[in-house]
């Protein structure tokens, strides 16, 4: 008998495919993973603790840096939480602007996921194609908010800037363009035999597992659970739009891919309708007191971010700073299932599974 031994392999925090500063310690036998231990916290900035010393408006830029791929939804969750506490009415135009930027942000976020996922799997070109379209979205968001990633666009009671001249038309023209490109992506990737072999049946988990690990977003919908907060608990104006929730029954990396690609299409539908319904004029800010002091009490709101259910809990004592602020960061919860999925897989599948979960380290580490 040849004596064999397990090897301890440290993947990350600097590794091309861990999507940031994620580290995972693997016990491997050959290329088979025996045990995986994720190590997180390299990007921890203490957002929640910092928020306790900040006024509500000042917290908004911090949320930009959590899930930096869809900062608009993060902006929204904190504003939405405060607005819920203060029972504030938001002007219609502001709400439409919020929905437009959030859905564009969702498309951009899924495009980044699509590109980097294929890059992980070894295909170079889709990354550049996806980033071409994402660049158009980023430019549009830049035009409206003045920043490309950390938008700091929303305020309690509305949005900071109105849409500039011609912006709505640009968004309208973007939708058919994106649809065309999306069909191109499907031509290039979705039928590719190598890609299908890499993702089909990989990283499988059941509906029960998904519930047990509190997964959300596409990670949950890929197991056949119809759960989208935009439909189930409509916030903002989402009840005014006609769109479907893509649900696939498979629970593997392939259905997660299908789910996200279909979500891009649904987001485009929402954008299209929002552009049509967009009110010609109106305020973009509600009447908001100069210093925002939500009444004493607690509240928890949740919305659907590109990565899943993002929630915000605020405990207020009626002061201008929150007493305690807590974000339910979907990437952090989605990541918890990773060690279970990795057992017995090989290293190539580690990349497929980790990429398929779609984490953003800024959000995982808070």
């Amino acid at each position: 008998m040849i004596r064999t031994e397990e090897m301890l392999l440290n993947v990350g925090p600097q590794h091309p495919s861990t999507h940031g500063v994620f580290r995972i310690v693997l016990k491997i036998d050959g290329e088979i993973i025996k045990e995986a231990k994720p190590v997180i916290g390299y990007l921890h900035r203490g957002t929640e603790k910092l928020a306790e010393d900040l006024q509500y408006t000042q917290i908004i830029p911090y949320t930009d840096r959590m899930d930096y791929l869809s900062a608009m939804t993060n902006n929204y969750i904190i504003c939405h939480a405060v607005e819920t506490m203060m029972e504030m009415e938001i002007p219609e135009r502001a709400d439409y602007l919020r929905i437009l930027v959030m859905e564009l942000g969702r498309v951009a976020s899924h495009l980044v996921w699509f590109g980097t996922y294929l890059l992980d799997i070894g295909a170079m070109s889709p990354f550049l194609y996806a980033f071409r379209e994402r660049e158009m979205i980023i430019n549009m968001l830049n035009e409206i908010s003045g920043a490309r990633l950390t938008f700091n666009y929303m305020r309690v009671g509305g949005v900071k800037w109105d849409a500039p001249e011609g912006w709505i038309e640009k968004v309208r023209d973007f939708v058919p363009h994106m649809r065309k490109q999306l069909a191109g992506y499907h031509d290039l990737i979705s039928g590719n035999e190598i890609f299908l072999n890499r993702v089909k049946g990989v990283g499988y988990y059941t509906k029960e597992d998904a519930f047990a690990y509190s997964l959300s977003g596409a990670n949950l919908r890929c197991t056949g659970v119809d759960w989208d907060l935009r439909k189930k608990e409509p916030y903002s104006l989402y009840d005014r739009f006609d769109f479907d929730v893509p649900v696939f029954d498979g629970g593997d990396a392939w259905t997660r891919y299908q789910c996200r690609m279909a979500e891009i299409e649904e987001s485009l539908k929402i954008v299209e309708q929002a552009v049509e319904q967009f009110p010609a004029e109106g305020d973009i800010m509600a009447k908001v007191p100069r210093i925002i002091k939500p009444p004493a009490g607690e509240t928890y709101v949740r919305i659907e971010s590109p990565r899943g259910e993002i929630g915000c809990y605020i405990a207020s004592q009626g002061k201008k700073e929150p007493y305690r602020l807590k974000f339910r960061r979907p990437s952090f919860y989605n990541l918890q299932i990773l060690p279970k999925l990795l057992e017995g897989e090989n290293i190539a599948n580690l990349i497929t599974i980790l990429g398929g979960i779609d984490i953003v380290l800024g959000e995982v580490d808070g």
């Binding site: 290329e31 890059l119 070894g122 170079m124 194609y129 890499r198 190539a348 599948n349």
Partner: protein, 333 residues
């Protein structure tokens, strides 16, 4: 002239001439490598809606690779403390030397060839197998876990794909009745073997991409999994030697594909006035372009899929091809 020298008795003069020719071939191959890298970056850039290198040497970036090589020469040559020093130094040489050795057997046209080897094809296949040892050695000697995994993958892959590669050309050997590359080309004067042996061509093309460690079979250096694979600890010119090996093999593999399947320097009908070397270059460039194209298009296979594809699909197909070739030969020739 070369023809005469090839069949004349060895003398100081002929040795000198062949030495000079060898140096000339070396320069040509290095020139190819320089511009193949540039072409690859340009073509992939074009396919990915980028411009590619465009700063060094005019808007086409003609001196980009030269600048890269100069940079590599100036880089500090680091050898990890824990590495197995002699093996670490030897590995790039062992990977690299066979890449140049195989070039000796390749005829580029009727007159432009440096040997008339009766077993040319066998020589090519046998020598090119040695490079695997260099890669495995590099992976092991680096004393790095990623490098070891890359080295093991590479060894497994190259051994598995060498078999269908060799099997796929047996059909050609059967039809020609020779291992001599010149005779194989001459047998294709009327019809290239691509049309006689289409199955063998596809097996050969796939297996050669795998042999070259290029996408979709670039597992040994899978960037997103193993960071850089077997050469993760190499830097400076030692690293450049591994890269050089890869591109010289690209040259050799494209040449051998041209010779075996595309009819070498045989011209297309009615265009006989164009010299054979040019025909060779055109066919050769098509093969190189296909390799680059594949790289821009396809994702990477997984190690176990790679193995099962090699052993369960390519090898039986190659065996079937041998059988069919034998039957055809028996009936028609």
């Amino acid at each position: 002239m070369i023809e005469e020298l090839l069949y004349s008795a060895p003398s100081y003069l002929s040795t000198l001439i062949f030495f000079a020719l060898g140096a000339g071939l070396l320069m040509m191959v290095l020139g190819f490598v320089t511009y193949a890298i540039l072409a690859e970056r340009k073509v992939i850039g074009f396919m990915q809606l980028r411009v590619g290198p465009n700063r060094v040497g005019g808007p086409l970036g003609l001196l980009q690779t030269v600048a890269d090589v100069l940079k590599l020469l100036l880089k500090e040559d680091t050898i990890p403390k824990a590495a197995d020093r002699p093996l670490f130094i030897l590995a790039p040489v062992i990977a690299f030397a066979p890449a140049f050795m195989v070039l000796a057997a390749i005829p580029f046209s009727e007159s432009l060839r440096f040997s008339d080897l009766g077993i040319g094809l066998l020589y090519y296949i046998a020598i090119s197998g040695i490079s695997t040892v260099g890669i495995l050695m590099g992976g092991w000697a680096s004393n790095n876990k990623y490098a070891l995994l890359g080295g093991m993958r590479s060894a497994a892959q190259m051994i598995s794909y060498e078999v269908p590669l060799v099997m796929s050309v047996i059909g050609i050997i059967l039809l020609t009745g020779s291992l001599n590359l010149v005779e194989i080309v001459e047998a294709q004067q009327n019809l290239a073997y691509l049309f006689v042996q289409p199955l063998a061509f596809f097996i050969f093309l796939i297996a050669s991409v795998a042999e070259l460690n290029r996408t979709p079979f670039d597992l040994p250096e899978a960037e997103s999994e193993l960071v850089a694979g077997y050469h993760v600890e190499y830097s400076g010119f030692r690293w450049a030697f591994f890269m050089l090996t890869e591109y010289v093999y690209l040259f050799a593999m494209a040449s051998i594909t041209t010779i075996l399947f595309l009819g070498g320097w045989n011209p297309v009908p009615f265009l006989e006035f164009i010299p054979g070397v040019i025909w060779f270059a055109i066919k050769f460039s098509i093969i190189v372009f296909i390799m680059i194209w594949l790289r821009a298009t396809l994702p990477r296979l997984r190690a176990d899929q790679l193995m099962s594809f090699g052993w369960k699909v390519l090898l039986p197909l190659a065996l079937l091809n041998i059988f069919i070739s034998a039957v055809i030969k028996e009936i028609w020739f």
